[in-house]
Symmetry: D3
Subunit: 158 residues, 6 copies
């Protein structure tokens, strides 16, 4: 299992926060995406101005950015990192219908920032859900994944 070893699990099978002290500080970035599916009518309420689009979307974007900073507090084995940038964008897409979320996180550090980007997208999607749940009981969060990463060993997408 040499090349398959899980970084956060020791030889004794215990979870631990793996030692990254010998890894180089490099400029790292990661991009994650996700979707919130909702009823077409829900999207129309936001799009047609019956609901304040700004309040719904900007609350979710801010929540996602703040959540990126809490990643190491939420994910037990994540290393705390000093993030140098967090951006999050939410757009409405009638073809889903729903919302598309995309987050990019950057740091100069010893570990990657995939988890921070994924956490930003996840919490932003949860916040959209919270802002809209009074009018829609059928929403679903889907397709949360890392689409690009750079600065580590196995880069792709950028």
């Amino acid at each position: 299992m040499s090349e398959n070893s899980l970084s956060h699990v020791g030889k004794d099978g215990r979870a631990h926060m793996v030692d990254v002290g010998a890894k180089a500080f490099t400029a790292r970035k990661a991009r994650a995406e996700g979707r919130l599916f909702c009823a077409g009518e829900t999207l129309a309420i936001v799009r047609d101005g019956r609901a304040p689009k700004g309040a719904v979307i900007s609350t979710a974007e801010i929540a996602g950015i703040m959540a990126a900073k809490k990643t190491a507090d939420l994910i037990p084995m994540c290393h705390p990192l000093s993030l140098s940038k967090v951006g999050l964008e939410i757009v409405m897409d009638e073809t889903l219908p729903g919302f598309r979320l995309s987050a990019e996180v950057r740091t100069s550090g010893q570990t990657g920032v995939e988890m921070e980007a994924l956490t930003a997208v996840s919490v932003a999607a949860l916040t959209l859900y919270d802002m809209l749940k009074a009018v829609d009981k059928t929403m679903r969060i889907d397709g949360i994944e890392v689409v690009a990463k750079a600065g580590g060993k196995a880069d792709y997408g950028y």
Copy 2:
């Protein structure tokens, strides 16, 4: 827009934490589910004992339970609640292949606990991702939704 009004958005279009002071304290519960898709080989690593199943799954379950208690800290307009129960179960499913997550949260309060159940599932899925990302770059979090709620106005699923 009377019946479509978003609870967390005021008449002036500003986001606020809606007043629930006049609502009754009732026993409320909610159940949310989600999935983490991974490579079949990743699931085999956990299932066949090459990775310690306990460390991966129990770390994710504990992270999800702890996250449920942080919901009001993560979601801007969520009311803080004194949860009376949080349970979270993760099972492996070769047909995905991947992991199925299910959380149940209960409280006696003035608002529902859907967001707490969704947050527990989301953070548990993120933790699985973190524990397995050293061996799998193709994972995807999917299908996070509320499947049952009780104790409020619009109940279903139980």
Copy 3:
């Protein structure tokens, strides 16, 4: 010193979180206000659309609402409370020139919510400062005070 006794300081002079266990649960609310003075040009940048007014003001409003929920984590002797409502409004005022902030918090509990309202205003003002500090080095936060409270022993303002 009987009528002057500080609630959070014991007879031995030590700080403690005073026992409110014998107090009644009543509907309580409080309103706090504050101001951020800035250069007239800064206000013009936001007002005239050269800076996105929504991003500046809505970020501060959301930060203030979230901070109200962290009050007991910030103020050592504050009791944790389950807030039933938090609202925060920020308006531009050319006569200052600057921004006027107003927060209202409600709960059903054994202690008042003045500190939560004051914390919401303070953190919202700090966030405005942070959003505008790239263009203005002369800002000043002023006049943070409780203007109304109800539900306790010494009510006023409502």
Copy 4:
């Protein structure tokens, strides 16, 4: 708007945490000040020993220092920083009458520490308010501003 651009707002008008990855790590410091106005009698209670001065002031100083470390958790677009020093001093001033607060924060980092110093002063003032509100309903927090900063582009005061 080139020279007036707000660092935390993108070209699309969305709030984001600006990328500081290309900025140099320099030794930075900032000093912020503020005042809490109270009734003369309140100050006398603390000064004349009828209230334990230590408990009131030291609780506020400790709260302010701890709050400096929470700045990035409170202010949505603030970068997390590893602070190398936080000091906070509160003195009584009969001429106000009230309390004068002063905080100094230092770091070696890519962004300044004005927000950390302002947050320390703000939360210390809120804590004084909380410790004294049982005897004084007329207090007001005033004059919170940055009085000196060094290590960045636009330094002054030191």
Copy 5:
């Protein structure tokens, strides 16, 4: 194993936050104690005024009180509670030599507050350690236990 069942572990062996929704809200309190052993010289430094006794002890008392409010954030299966009182007392004892710590926590709730009292003592002891570690490398935290509890099923000590 009926009478020995662990409340936070389910029949399936998974950790969960047990359901307390059916338990009565009763007035509950708990008292915990602990000790920090240090060199006699360390105690003398604090006692004889060469170090400011107030800064050392009051910082630890405040840290312990604040930690009691974080108990549910630290202990994975602890229920969040609205504490009605937290008190913490630290005294120097030359016979150890060292410090004796004692905390009392009260609430009206569905679960006991032993963990909150133990957490207050533990974090206060850690803070004493931090304040004194520059002069003493031989300190040891000892004897942290619950000495009295009331309001639940198995009371003692009061």
Copy 6:
């Protein structure tokens, strides 16, 4: 008192977070240990399989690792640090009878990580207590101390 000076207390007797800005960034590590004494029968319940050993011990290990990351949030004058490794091991020892805990923390920073290692052990012990308190009212946390440190001025134990 030159050589006895407490780092976190200023000449004026106020607590502050000491300036470490001039100290070198070095690879630092620390190891702390502790014990939880319990009834022999409690240990037998876990050891003999009547209680799920994994759920009890792995919950405590994860709680301790997460707590190490919260050290600067709990201990007022602790500097925030970017930890590069946290490991925690809990073993049962019939000769106590009870549990032995050991934590190791590493960083590259300007201050040591003794407090992080001590906090990990303390919170893990508290979590064991919480998981077992339904079956044992006589537990006691004991012997929490630093057993080795390296990378600073006064190293020992490694």
